[in-house]
Structures are given as structure tokens and as C-alpha cells.
Symmetry: C2
Subunit: 343 residues, 2 copies
């Protein structure tokens, strides 16, 4: 057997622990103990936690599947929920179920993806569990909020401004490029691919706005902007008017223009882990985030009735739903692009 074909089943649990996990995580306090050590906390805190499993990354449909992407995504989706609470991450615990036939090389790619993503967000894997079976990647992120600063989905009022933090459209711009619907020079193409495969959670924005008391409520964009706004409307008994206008980043805007996709339609997609925040004073949010070089745009405002409109017409947007036929994780790429963007 060549070195690259060594599988988890060849090592066994104790072999995996000693040959793969200890070299990587052995210096982490609590390594090998029944419970992982997260953090010492000596300030009054509100503790939060979130757990999410990783779907098949859309970028795996674009190019060769790589567990690095799944690992990165697993960390991002969990950290993004902490961002929505305005929390500081204390650590991630991971739970991997993988077939015995998983190669050690592929497993290391997974761990690299999770570890790199955690590092990029200033946190780490504190511990985890591994067992053999049908592949499933799950993680839990734990965070702390300063007392009274924790953001929830409720708390919005009619007239409040709906603002989208982050730069949407990179994932689906990559899909438009990879399916040949648009072309760009290599540097721009590489930039889009890199952003698509390594989306960042808006942790800094969430925490900064929460601790400054500038926003009333927040929710991340996991299933499309429409689903997010609809959920916020329901949670607050309000309606919303969105403008339907959005200024995309330059390379993403170029892709949209080539494909005849409206900028807002690309901004509506999911996969970039934007954060929707709700503020009484939009200027304050803009100013605070500008100081941190974090992009934010107003997309609309809440209304006292419960209708959700884009301009003057009802907004019929993208809304993935689990346990239903409108769940789009996986599937053939070109069909998916047509379903999501109509091109």
C-alpha cells in the first residue's frame, strides 16, 4: 500500500489518535480528556452555542470535491451563527462520522480546512469526536457575549433599516463562471473562486455592532436573503420593503452583467454568509463598519403591515427549506444555476 492510500480503517481509533490527531492537536489543553477545554472566563458573560452539520459544499460541484472545502464551510456556518448573536467565539467542537475507507490524506484535508477557517476567525478547534459510518460533518461553536449585548432575531420595529453586512454573490458568480455562462480574466476569476471556497463569517461586524448597541437584531444569510428577511418579519410581526438595488463588488458585478442577472438577484443568493442587521440608525452602522473596513449596504426597511415587497411588487425570493422539495443542497450544477438565477 502506498503512503497516500492509507485509510482511517488501517489505523484504527488509537492509531488515528496517535498518528493524526496528537501531532496536530496534542498541545491543545484538554487534548485526550473526556471533555474539551474551551476557555477560562472571568468576566460576567452570556454564553451561547450553535450547532450545524455541513451540507455538500456547492464548490464541490464546481471543481473536484475536496474535504478542505467541507471543513472550511463547517467552521464558517457555525461561526456565522455566533456572528448573528454578536458573540466572541470561545472554540469549536467537531463531530466527524467518516467511512473506514477515508484516506488519511483526505482526512488531513478536512482538518486543514476546519483549522484554517478557525484561525482566520481568531478561534480554534477545542475538541471533538470521530466515528466510522456514513459521512457526516457536524460542529458546535460556543461563544460569549457581553451582558445585555446578545443579539436575537426579535427586537425590530417598523421603520428600522435592514442592512446586509458583507459582499454577496461570490459563490454563485463562481458557478456562473464555471458553467461557462460568463468569462473573466484569470486574476478576477481566481479572486472569485477563492472567496467562493473560503467564505468568512461576519464575526467582527456582529460583535462590534452588538457591543456598541448599534443594532436591534441580526440573522445570518444561510438560505438566501429572502428567507432571512421573511424569518425576521415573522419573528417581529412586521413586513418589509426591499429596494431591489445592490452594488456588487466589481468582479461579481461583471459576471452579473455578462449573464444578464440583476445585481440584486445575485445578492439574494446564499453561500457568502452575509449578516442581516437591523438598526434604527443606519448611519451609525455604516460609520462603525467603515472604520473596520467591513462592507455594509442598506437593502430596505421594516413596515408595520406584514407584506414583503421589492419596490412595489410582492417579493418572491429564494428560500431553501429542509424536509421539503425546495432543498437545494447537492444536485446537478447547471440545472441548479438555472433554478437559482434563472439563466
Amino acid at each position: 500500500m502506498s503512503g497516500t492510500e492509507l485509510c482511517l480503517g488501517d489505523l484504527g481509533e488509537r492509531g488515528i489518535q496517535e498518528k493524526v490527531l496528537r501531532p496536530r492537536y496534542g498541545s491543545t489543553e484538554g487534548f485526550g480528556d473526556d471533555s474539551a477545554f474551551l476557555a477560562k472566563v472571568d468576566r460576567p458573560s452570556e454564553l451561547v452555542a450553535t450547532t450545524d452539520s455541513c451540507p455538500t459544499p456547492v464548490v464541490d460541484l464546481l471543481r473536484e470535491p475536496d474535504l478542505y472545502h467541507a471543513g472550511w464551510l463547517l467552521a464558517t456556518i457555525n461561526l456565522s451563527d455566533l456572528a448573528a448573536a454578536g458573540a466572541e467565539p470561545l472554540g469549536l467542537v467537531v463531530n466527524y462520522t467518516l467511512p473506514k475507507t477515508t484516506t488519511v490524506v483526505a482526512f488531513e484535508r478536512l482538518l486543514d480546512g476546519v483549522d484554517d477557517c478557525c484561525r482566520a476567525h481568531g478561534t480554534k478547534v477545542a475538541g471533538g469526536d470521530l466515528r466510522d459510518g456514513s459521512p457526516q460533518l457536524t460542529a458546535t461553536a460556543i461563544g460569549r457575549c457581553a451582558p445585555g449585548s446578545r443579539l436575537r432575531r426579535s427586537g425590530a420595529k417598523a421603520g428600522d433599516h435592514l442592512m446586509l453586512v458583507g459582499s454577496p454573490g461570490y459563490l454563485w458568480a463562481a458557478a456562473l463562471l464555471e458553467t461557462g455562462r460568463a468569462t473573466l480574466p484569470k486574476p478576477a476569476r481566481d479572486e472569485i473562486w477563492d472567496r467562493a471556497r473560503r467564505p468568512m463569517a461576519q464575526l467582527k461586524a456582529g460583535r462590534t455592532l452588538a457591543e456598541a448597541g448599534h443594532v436591534r437584531t441580526a440573522m445570518d444569510v444561510s438560505d438566501g436573503l429572502f428567507a432571512t428577511v421573511r424569518t425576521l418579519c415573522e419573528a417581529n410581526g412586521l413586513g418589509a420593503v426591499v429596494t431591489g438595488e445592490f452594488a456588487l463588488d466589481e468582479p461579481v458585478a461583471a459576471v452579473a452583467a455578462q449573464c444578464g442577472v440583476r445585481a440584486f438577484d445575485l445578492a439574494e443568493t446564499w453561500g457568502d454568509w452575509g449578516l442581516v442587521v437591523v438598526a434604527e440608525d443606519a448611519g451609525q452602522v455604516r460609520k462603525t463598519l467603515a472604520e473596520e473596513d467591513i462592507p455594509v449596504q442598506e437593502i430596505g426597511s421594516f413596515t408595520a403591515d406584514t407584506a414583503i415587497t421589492k419596490g412595489t411588487a410582492p417579493w418572491q425570493g429564494i428560500a431553501q427549506e429542509r424536509f421539503s422539495t425546495s432543498s437545494w443542497h447537492g444536485g446537478e450544477l447547471s440545472t441548479l444555476v438555472t433554478e437559482v438565477l434563472g439563466v
Copy 2:
């Protein structure tokens, strides 16, 4: 369609949220938010977390499978890891993957099992995630330790006493009864079944001993007593001598006697979530736990060499190992009993 046959796929994600989860968890602070609320912490704390997926409960092999058992077990195995750290639980976050064809009734049984188990341990489900797919039940338990009291696997010294907290043997006594290898009057049989299907984590013992500073290290018995002792020996660079003697609870002892199984062999099995603690002063541990009515017995002591012996012979005990052929989760019951207990 009759009401009892309603499936998760019939409700969809939003229907499940409104019709099943909100009635049960809607009053939990943070319900519906991106991140679950765990707790306010205002004392200096060391925070710990642990995550485990639920294997097929052995009790499902004994009688009709019931997601209640899986739910109870899921909570217990995670809380048991907090017990080993000497931690107070702050809450559980759950992550369920279930097929669309799961009936709502079966899903409610799962939630009942988790909720009942959490309640029995003085904690609760703080939040979670649900998606459709091949069944997998995962949870993460988060806890706090008083500063400096957190127990680890390392810290033991030669001469320290190895003590087993809890009453082992109930799960496998139930297996011996159900496969007709032993018979008992109904009350005793019912007691064994009830203990086997609702094992309790030793949270109170772990925390009490940790905060009193009476033990140096701890680890729960997840894969058999031998595997636990071996891991503790490895973590501390020590060996151990176990006595091979153990006084089982009365109904379990009766089953062992009928089957010609030595008491210690039944005590060696897994599934009762005992806690192995290591103490310099065994009397102190005995006295402290006696005050709380928690059973504990000394099973041996650590030695300066690295041999693991039972009496005077090498101890060849039960040790499940994942990613290997000695993983016994699932399988035919009577064969399993023979493999585990030799009868």
C-alpha cells in the same frame, strides 16, 4: 393519512418548527435565534464542552427499537463526559439528521428521551439543528468548572486508588435476561430493564469530588472498564493492578450467579456510564459519596511499572475500538452476549 403516520417530510422544516418544536421549546430563551442561549455566568469559570454521536442503543436489540432510548442515551453519553471533568452542565445542543419518512410520533419519542434525561440530570436542551438524511443523532454538552477544579485524565500517581463510581452490570444483566440466559421475578427484572434503558451520568459525583479536591483524575466508562483503565495508565505512564473483585447490586448479582459469570466480568462491561476516579485517599472519596448516597468501590491501584494485571495475571479485558473490527455497536444480540461475557 392517519395522525400517527404523519411524517417529518409532510410538515417540512417550517411545519416542524411551528408544530413540534415551538410547543415544546418555545419558552426556552433564544428559541429560534441563530445561536442558542446557554447561561449567564457571573463567577470565574473554566468552560468545557464535549460532543458525542449516539450509537444504536444495545437496549434496542433487546426489545422493539424506540427513539426514546436513543434520545436518553444521547444525553447521557454527553453528560457523562462532563461528569468526568467534574463540571456542572450548562446545557445541551442537539443535532439530528433524520429521514423525511420519520414519523412525528417517533420524533417526539426522541425529544422525550433527550428532554427526560436532561431533566433527570438538572439540565436542558438549549437549542439545536435538524436536517433530513441518513439517521444520525449528535449532541454537544457544555459545562463549567470552578477554577482549578477541572479533572483531566492525567494527574495520577503510583499508589493512587482506582475507584469505580456507580452500579455497573445493569445493561448486560438485561441482555442475559432477555436472551433467556437467566430468569428473575418480574419486579427485579423490571428494575434491571429500567436501569438498562435509562442509564444516568455520574454528574453529581464528579462535581462533588472535583470541587472538594478529593480526586486527581477521572474518566467515564464508555467502552468497558479495561479500556478506561488502560487509557488512564497510558495517559499517566503508569501500570495498574485490579483486584478482580466487585460487589454487584443484588439483582445484577443474581443474574451473574445464574449464568456462571463472575461479578467482576459483569462489572467490566459498558453501558452503565460509571465513572472511574483516582484518589490518593480512598476513604475520603468513600465518605464524601456515602453522604450523597452514591455507590463507589475500589477496584485496584496504580503501579509504577506499565503492566496491567488482574490479581497476578495480565488483565485481558473488553475494549471496544472504533475504526476496527472490535467495534461492537449493533450486531446480533446472542452472539454479542457470548463475545462480551463468554456465556
